[in-house]
Structures are given as C-alpha cells and as structure tokens.
C-alpha cells in the first residue's frame, strides 16, 4: 500500500516536472533552431522542429549589422569587474559581520538587510539622478558598474557562509601572530572558496543578464552590453527573425555553458543560507 502510493506520487511528480521542463526548454530550443536555419524557414506559417536547410547566415547578418563584438566585450568586462568587486567587498563585509565584534555591528547589518526589502525600481530614479546629474558619469563603464559594485545580498550570503567557519581558527591565527588582514587573507579566504565560487558565478550571471540599468544609463552604441544592444537591434530589424534569434543565442549561450559546467556550485548556492547558516 505504502509503496503503491509512493509510485503514484513519483509518477505524478515526474509528469508535472516533465511538462514544466518542456515548457521551459521549447523557447530556448526555438531560439537556437531559429538561429541556425535559413531565414525563410523561421518565418513560415508551419514551423519546422528540425530545420530542412541549415545556415549560419543569421549569425553573419547579426555580427555584420551590429557592434556585437563590442557589446560582447562590454558584457564580459562589466560582468568581470562586478564579479571581482562583489567577491572582494562581499567577503570582507561578510567576514566582518560574521566574525568581528564592533559596536553597532548588528544594527548596521539589519539596516543593510532591510534595504533588500526596497524594490530596485524605487531607487532607480534617484540613482539615475545621482549618477547623471551629481557625478556626471552618464554613458561610462563607471556608471554601469558603480551601483552594483557590492550588493547586500552578496554580503548576506558571505556572512552566512563565514559564520559556519570555526571561530577557533581565527583565535589560533591571532595567537600565531597573524595580522587581522592576514587572518582574512591566509585563513578565512582559502576556506571560503566554495562560498566565493558561488558568489562569483551568481554575480557574473546576474551582471551578464542585467538589462534595465545598462539600458537606462548608456546612450551610445559602443557602451551597450549585449543584452541592451540586442534590444536595440530587435527594434531596428523587427523582420529579420533569423538574425534576432542569432543575437539572442549569442547573448544566452555563454551563460548556459557556464551553468552546465558549474551546475554543482549553483545548487550549492541555493543551500548555503539554509544549511550552513
């Protein structure tokens, strides 16, 4: 009886998950297929699940009509810098909140954490005014990077991770004549590597996929990231489905490769706060 109900449960769950997977995968499949077939096919009334004529022409058109290489460079550069700053500041702040005693640490932490409750859209306009009018940084890398240089979410993630490291290691290092920065650098950071990897991957993916802020703050074509560039290309070439699909594939593929190669860390990232905290 027990095993029978279990079998039914597993079957139902498998069917639901299977359907969900299909719904999720079809658009991705469509995007990739649309980018590697002849343009005439992708606009036909009866779509072909497996193209009869394969072609790389959509990619050629996408790269020749746009500054795609420049956009890709921008995306890589910005995501890399944001990853580096988030790893650096996030781990330092996380360590301080997790392991160092200083007056008001709890208050400061809760104030920081409460900012996570404020929707990003609310701060968008003040942030825009600040960057454009006060700092005069419009249409620069600094303008894209600065607001995201460190996120509270990452500080929280690192605090949770570092709280799970034994405090006696810090005490041992202190007695072993290690400086305070030395403790962080030589003892804590090497042990926080799995946490840092998760933070780095999540930050890179988020920065790569970010659309709205780079869209808002950039005005020239050469400052656009791949996501922003793609949107402008869609507006300009609304009929060339093949090229649009090729662009979308170029924008999405690196993250898909990253995800599949580092799947382990993504899953770890989901459980860090829950299990280790």
């Amino acid at each position: 009886m027990h095993s029978k109900s279990k079998i039914i449960m597993v079957t139902v769950a498998s069917v639901i998950l299977g359907l969900w997977a299909i719904v999720t995968i079809i658009p991705l499949y469509w995007m990739i297929i649309g980018s590697v077939q002849d343009t005439t096919l992708s606009a036909t009334y009866k779509p072909q699940m497996i193209p009869s004529i394969w072609s790389v022409a959509p990619f050629e058109r996408f790269f020749s009509k746009t500054s795609a290489w420049r956009w890709l460079f921008n995306s890589v550069f910005i995501s890399a810098v944001l990853t580096a700053t988030n790893v650096f500041f996030g781990s330092l702040a996380g360590y301080a909140f997790a392991k160092l005693k200083f007056p008001g640490s709890k208050t400061v932490f809760w104030v920081l954490l409460s900012t996570m409750m404020i929707p990003a859209q609310v701060t968008l306009i003040p942030l825009y005014v600040l960057i454009i009018n006060v700092f005069n940084l419009g249409d620069t890398y600094t303008a894209i990077i600065l607001p995201g240089a460190v996120s509270v979410g990452n500080i929280f993630l690192m605090k949770q991770y570092m709280s799970s490291l034994p405090t006696s290691l810090i005490h041992a290092a202190r007695i072993d004549a290690c400086s305070e920065f030395g403790i962080f650098w030589k003892v804590i950071l090497p042990l926080a590597k799995p946490g840092l990897a998760v933070l780095a991957i999540f930050t890179f993916v988020t920065s790569w996929n970010d659309f709205f802020w780079p869209f808002l703050i950039t005005s020239s074509d050469e400052m656009r990231t791949i996501q922003v560039g793609l949107a402008s290309f869609v507006f300009a070439e609304s009929t060339d489905y093949g090229a649009i699909m090729a662009g979308a594939t170029v924008g999405a593929l690196p993250m898909m490769i990253l995800f599949f190669s580092l799947q382990r860390y993504f899953l770890q990232g989901i459980t860090i706060g829950a299990v280790k905290g």
């Binding site: 034994p166 006696s168 290691l169 041992a172 202190r174 007695i175 072993d176 004549a177 042990l191």
Partner: protein, 369 residues
C-alpha cells in the same frame, strides 16, 4: 618559562537581551614557573573564560593579568608569548601539517632554517615526521591533537594554554594522550594552564587544581589535598567519582546522629571548630570508597554501622556500586565485588568514621579540619 598571576580579575559579558552576566568574579591566584595547573569545574564556571583572558582572546573587565614580570592587560595575544591548544584543535584545514606547525613562526618572520629546525624538533617529539606533508583531514583524532600540541611547542612560549584538548577523543585515546601530555610537561619543563571539566583528567595531570563554580574560585590545592580536605560541599561533590555522599546529621558531643543511627566519632575527628557545632545540625560527607559492606571491611579503624535496604547494585567488574537511602538522600557505596548485595537486601554498611567530613548546612563550608 614564566609565572602567571591574576590580581582581582573580573569578567562581565553584556548582552542586550540577557543583561550583564559575570563570568569570572574577582579571581586572585598565582601559577608558579614550570607548574602544571588545571582549571576544573562544570560548564559555565568561568574556567575557559579565565584561560582566554590569559591568552588575550578576551579582555578582562577589571583587574590585572601578569605573565612573567609583565602586566599583559593591553597586550595583543601574539605579544604575550603564549601558545594555545584548542578543544577542536583549530588546525588550518587548507594547510599541510608542516605549514600548520610553521605558521606562527612564519608570521613572526623567523629565518627559514630556524623554522625548519623547530618543525623537525616538534615533529620528532610528537612522532609526526611521516605526516608533515599531509592535510589535517587525512589524520586521525589523536594525530590531529598531537599536531595542535606541536603547533604550540614550536613557538617556545613562556606559557602553554590547553582548552579541554582531550574532550573530542575517545576514552582509550584520551588516557593515552593524558600520559603523553604529562610526559611532555616533564620534558619541556613548561608552565602549563589546562582547562577541563573532567575531574579525572584534572586529578591525574594537575600539580595544583583550581576548582571553579559560577565564576568564583572554590579552592586551589594539590589533588591530594582537594580529595582529603575539600573546602566546601561543591568541591567535595565535584572531586571524586562517584561523588561524595552527603547526609543530614546532628552533633552531640563525640556522637553524631544520622537518620536515627548513632555513630561514635574517633578522637582524631574532634576539633575545636567541630565543638562549636555541638547540638547543632551539620552535613556529614563520606566518600563512596569509605563505605564497606559488613562482610568485606578493609582497614577501618573506627567503624560506624548503618543498616538499610539496598536499592540498586551496579557491577563494574573491579568494584560494585551499591545505592541505598539515608533519610531523603541517596547514598552510594563503592564496595569490593565479592560483597554480597542485591536489590531489597537488608544490609549493614560500615562507615569509616576516620574519613568523614563535616559541612555547615547554611554556608556549605567545611567544619572539620
């Protein structure tokens, strides 16, 4: 090596929710040069806090701590010339044993050749030579413990601090490591301050023992003295296993009345301080090993007889523990395994009256001396 002194050291912790908590109350003591001193007491008695204050990991709320001839109140742990072994070993998991051992000396920027020599010396003392290139996770509990000790040895500190270093080991290994630590103390001639909640560890290792409870020092004495002349009921109950038995009693001249039984005290027990309690209530303390079954009495000069029924018998092989009730208190006797005892047996027990202790029921302090 050096002496360690506490002068009226007090430590309070402040917590927004729980308020102020006093972990150590006005401690005063001197640990002599090359002495092995053990802090012992139940959880939360302030023993680890005291040790951490010597290390500089906690800062005292008031009072002075002196190591050698320096007041170290405001000195960073690294400048106090101490080394500490932690309960969970605190080995750096990402470093090899060699790197773990040399970490402190490298931070102190000692010459490479000197570091190498020190690491080799420590490894040879602790039999770690074959493991120098391994990581801590590849070592057993006992080996990790030795690395933790090695990390302290290479520093040549004035004072070694041990924070419950054996509590994570299994019983057999703990005894082995206890012997090794005692040998190490002889070999290094070091001043050692050792914290444990295990009174057997304290009694076997310590030259002197500091018994603590609720932040206050209860008694500082050698193991023999602690056992023979506990200063109060806490020390009497804490030192010795099974714990000392307490019975409500009343003094009447040289006799003591316990639950309707009259016991005649020997001359040697009658002190002037005990005379002050004539016709008054007292607490009589007697260790389980000083109670015998009537059929198996050994070397008792002055016997006190008490007949009662046996409640529980525990067979430990080398001895039996027999439990019985005196008034409202449960009493344990540690008797020879051939002593006849089973549940419900009406049995006469012999109390060695030359070895009883008396305590004031109000202050719980020792009366007899």
């Amino acid at each position: 090596m050096a002496r360690v002194e506490f002068r009226n050291v007090r430590k309070e912790f402040h917590d927004q929710q729980k308020g102020t908590f006093t972990a150590v109350e006005g401690s005063d003591f001197v640990i002599n040069d090359k002495e092995f001193v053990v802090f012992v007491g139940p959880s939360g008695c302030g023993k680890t806090t005291s040790l951490r204050m010597i290390a500089g990991l906690e800062h005292q709320s008031s009072g002075d701590i002196i190591i050698g001839d320096r007041v170290v109140n405001n000195l960073h742990p690294k400048d106090r010339d101490i080394a500490m072994v932690f309960q969970d070993y605190a080995l750096y998991p990402h470093m090899t044993i060699r790197e773990n051992l040399s970490f402190g000396l490298r931070n102190l920027k000692k010459p490479k050749a000197y570091i190498e020599q020190k690491v080799q010396e420590a490894a040879s003392i602790l039999d770690l030579e074959s493991m120098l290139e391994r990581k801590p996770r590849e070592l057993s509990g006992g080996q990790r413990q030795r690395v933790a000790v090695g990390r302290a040895i290479v520093r040549d500190p004035q004072v070694f601090l041990f924070d419950e270093p054996l509590s994570n080991l299994d019983a057999k290994l703990r005894i082995q490591m206890r012997v090794e630590l005692a040998e190490l103390h002889k070999r290094l001639g070091a001043t050692i301050v050792y914290v444990t909640h295990d009174q057997v560890e304290a009694m076997t290792l310590g030259e002197r023992i500091v018994v603590m409870n609720k932040g206050a020092i209860q008694q500082i004495a050698s193991p023999t003295e602690l056992y023979a002349k506990p200063r109060n009921m806490f020390v009497a109950g804490f030192i010795g296993s099974p714990a000392m038995n307490f019975m409500d009693a009343e003094l009447d001249g040289n006799r003591v009345l316990v639950n309707g039984t009259v016991l005649e005290l020997p001359e040697s027990m009658l002190s002037s301080s005990l005379a002050d309690y004539d016709k008054k209530k007292v607490i009589l303390g007697i260790r389980p090993e000083d109670i015998y079954g009537e059929d198996f009495v050994q070397n008792v000069k002055v016997e006190g007889k008490m007949t009662t029924s046996v409640q529980v018998v525990e067979h430990l092989g080398s001895e039996n523990l027999v439990y019985f009730q005196v008034g409202e208190r449960s009493v344990t006797a540690k008797v020879h395994p051939e002593t006849k005892a089973y549940v419900g047996l009406e049995k006469t027990f012999i109390l060695d009256l030359g070895k009883v202790h008396f305590f004031d029921p109000e202050t719980e302090m020792r009366i007899s001396d």
